[in-house]
């Protein structure tokens, strides 16, 4: 197990390094110049370039960036020269993270419940209802769901705030809008797995022991059916934490999304790079945790990894 963890950590570090290098190169390939402006005199421009180290060869810039990165320093914004990228992320990320986690926990818990209920009532009205919800969830884009929720719960019935992020009641609608697709996905995977496991021979073995139906479902069926859901957890976490941009702008939430979009428009190299590296590392780590988690829950993987 230890060896497996070390291997995974090493692979993750390599992944992050590759990510940094590729994004570093790509950002520089975007046509345009972060300091292009009519008011800019050549002297000021030269000064700025010296300040940010642009006068040095690209390869030197690259290694300087890496060196700073190791100490956790992402540099200063180019558009707002007195703002550190670290501070921007520190102020914006908690909103995105909070929203993502709420959506995630809602999507997984309700998705699992829906999938289990559907599978246990296979072919009945309840199953049909759950499948219908899943179809709606996977086929409707999140901004339509967001706008619909805003219209009914916010405007028509006045139950919940329409926008901003200033308390629990504000978080409900954007979390639902963001997590609905994932909820549908989880419920579909769970339903399919449940239906598959019910036909397994070991369920017959369990039943032949004489244990109660509920125990067969919980200890034998759900426990086995839940495994593949854990495997898609990595991509799900990625989708919910990076997919917040659209929802953030619909609900006017001061998260990472706004900065991301602006920084690309402004060609703010350091912010683009900093945020991408931050998100990338975050996802790599999330995926690693999911993999390790999988190893803990599934004894077969644990052994082959050793």
């Amino acid at each position: 197990m230890k060896k497996y963890i070390i291997k995974r950590v090493f692979i993750s570090l390599i992944t992050i390094l590759v990510l940094v290098s590729v994004v570093f190169a790509l950002v520089r390939l975007i046509p345009g110049d972060p300091f292009a402006s009519e008011k800019m005199t050549p002297e000021i421009k030269a000064n700025l370039e010296r300040y940010y180290g642009f006068d040095k060869p690209l390869i030197v810039q690259y290694f300087t960036y890496l060196k700073n990165l190791v100490t956790g320093n992402l540099g200063y914004s180019m558009f707002y020269p007195n703002l550190r990228v670290n501070d921007i992320i520190a102020s914006a990320f908690p909103y995105s993270f909070d929203l993502g986690m709420r959506a995630l926990s809602m999507a997984i818990s309700f998705g699992l419940i829906l999938g289990i209920v559907a599978a246990l009532n296979r072919g009945k009205v309840l199953d049909f209802t759950c499948v219908l919800i899943a179809i709606i969830g996977t086929s409707m884009p999140d901004f339509i769901i967001g706008a619909t929720l805003q219209y009914f719960f916010g405007i028509k019935w006045g139950l919940l705030p329409v926008a901003q992020y200033k308390g629990i009641s504000y978080t409900i609608l954007p979390s639902i809008a963001l997590g609905f697709y994932t909820l549908a996905l989880v419920s579909r995977v769970m339903r399919a797995n449940m239906i598959e496991t019910i036909q397994q021979d070991y369920i017959k073995t369990a039943k032949s022991k004489g244990i109660s139906k509920l125990r067969v479902i919980i200890k034998h069926q759900i426990r086995n059916a839940i495994m593949p859901v854990i495997t898609i957890l990595g991509p799900i976490v990625a989708a919910l934490l990076t997919g917040t941009f659209v929802i953030e702008s619909i609900f006017a939430i001061p998260g990472m999304g706004r900065h991301y979009v602006q920084s690309i428009q402004n060609l703010d190299y350091t912010i683009i790079l900093g945020m991408t590296v931050f998100y990338g590392s975050f996802l790599v780590v999330a995926n690693m945790i999911v993999d390790l988690l999988y190893g803990i829950v599934d004894p077969r993987i644990r052994v082959s990894g050793e």
Partner: protein, 340 residues
């Protein structure tokens, strides 16, 4: 072998039909009747898909029969069905209800099953301790962990595994070892009757004999009764006192083991027997091999005739018209064929 005149397990007119879709009924088991006495091993043979496992599952209450009765120790095991009808017809008489879950729990204490495929019949996410111990815990809720482990270790020892295996997972074992776990699991509640559903057919030839010998030894030690399912007669020959031959859901022949091997009557039994390889080359030469031609026909919506008629060498016009009843030809030897 002790033989009293009351069978331990009595199966009467057992039918299990599956509705495939509208108008299509698969008759997996059709009108099967047989008795099994205490201490006996009864072999149940037939080609793949003829309904052997389905019969076995009906006996351990894993499947509800479409019709027919199964008596264990003179009690109908699906009785709560009739019982409830009876109660509803006599509401004034305050008869206590049977709780079907409790009835099943009590029944599984006495009747257990060893499953066909050791690779798929063990929960991959449970340790040997949980697999074997779950049943024990169920019937002895107050059992201490120490005591439980001791019991499981003894069981593992009985089936030829080591006590160090207790905390391992199924994937860490070979097929033969897994089947031993399956056997330990079935034995864990100290049952009286075990349905062995092709316990060795998924195993290597080299371990088949070991497992069979172990099952025989355990039977002797624990005074068990077996229904032993297999798809060829060579295995059954070695272990069974009586043999039942099934063909597409129907019982075609029933006899004591020696009688069946000496004098197989049904053409299907003859064909099955002739396909057993014989060690002695003289006998092998003198015996002619009967090869079954044609495929097993479909058990879906079968015609009401002899189901073997389209593959039978001795087929007569009547075979295609009338279904032959199972009749006693001599004491304890029954056959369903128009030839006799």
């Amino acid at each position: 072998m002790t033989k009293n005149n009351k069978p331990l397990m009595r199966v009467e007119n057992l039918c299990k039909y599956f509705k495939i879709k509208e108008g299509q009924i698969l008759k997996a088991v059709d009108d099967a009747s047989f008795d099994i006495y205490k201490g006996e091993t009864v072999g149940l043979v037939g080609e793949s898909g003829c309904g052997k496992s389905t019969t076995g599952r009906c006996l351990v209450k894993l499947e509800q029969p479409t019709s027919g009765e199964v008596y264990f120790e003179d009690k109908e095991i699906y009785k709560h069905k009739y019982h409830e009808e009876f109660i509803s017809q006599h509401p004034e008489e305050n008869i206590p209800k049977i709780n079907p879950d409790q009835a099943k729990l009590d029944y599984t204490k006495d009747v257990q099953m060893i499953f066909q495929n050791p690779y798929s019949s063990l929960n991959p996410r449970m340790t040997v301790k949980d697999i074997v111990g779950e049943g024990i815990r169920l019937h002895n809720k107050k059992i201490k962990n120490k005591e439980l482990e001791k019991t499981i270790e003894n069981l593992l020892n009985d089936v030829g595994l080591s006590k160090d295996h207790i905390s391992r997972f199924p994937h860490e074992f070979s097929g033969g070892q897994r089947q031993r776990i399956g056997i330990a699991r079935a034995l864990s509640v100290d049952p009286k009757f075990i349905v062995c559903d092709e316990p060795i057919s998924a195993l290597d030839v080299s371990v088949q004999a070991q497992v069979i010998n172990m099952l025989k030894k355990i039977q002797r030690e624990r005074d068990l009764t077996y229904l032993f399912i297999a798809h060829d007669l060579s295995v059954v020959k070695y272990i069974s006192d009586k043999v039942i031959v099934m063909y597409l859901g129907n019982i075609v022949e029933k006899a004591k083991s020696e009688d069946l091997y000496k004098n197989p009557m049904h053409p299907y039994t003859q064909a099955l027997l002739s396909s057993i390889p014989v060690a002695n080359p003289k006998i092998a030469k003198s015996r002619k091999r009967i090869v079954l031609e044609g495929e097993l026909s479909s058990p879906i919506n079968p015609k009401d005739c002899c189901r073997f008629s389209d593959r039978c060498k001795h087929v007569m016009p009547i075979c295609k018209e009338v279904k032959p009843p199972l009749l006693a030809y001599e004491e304890g030897h029954e056959v369903a064929c128009h030839l006799y």
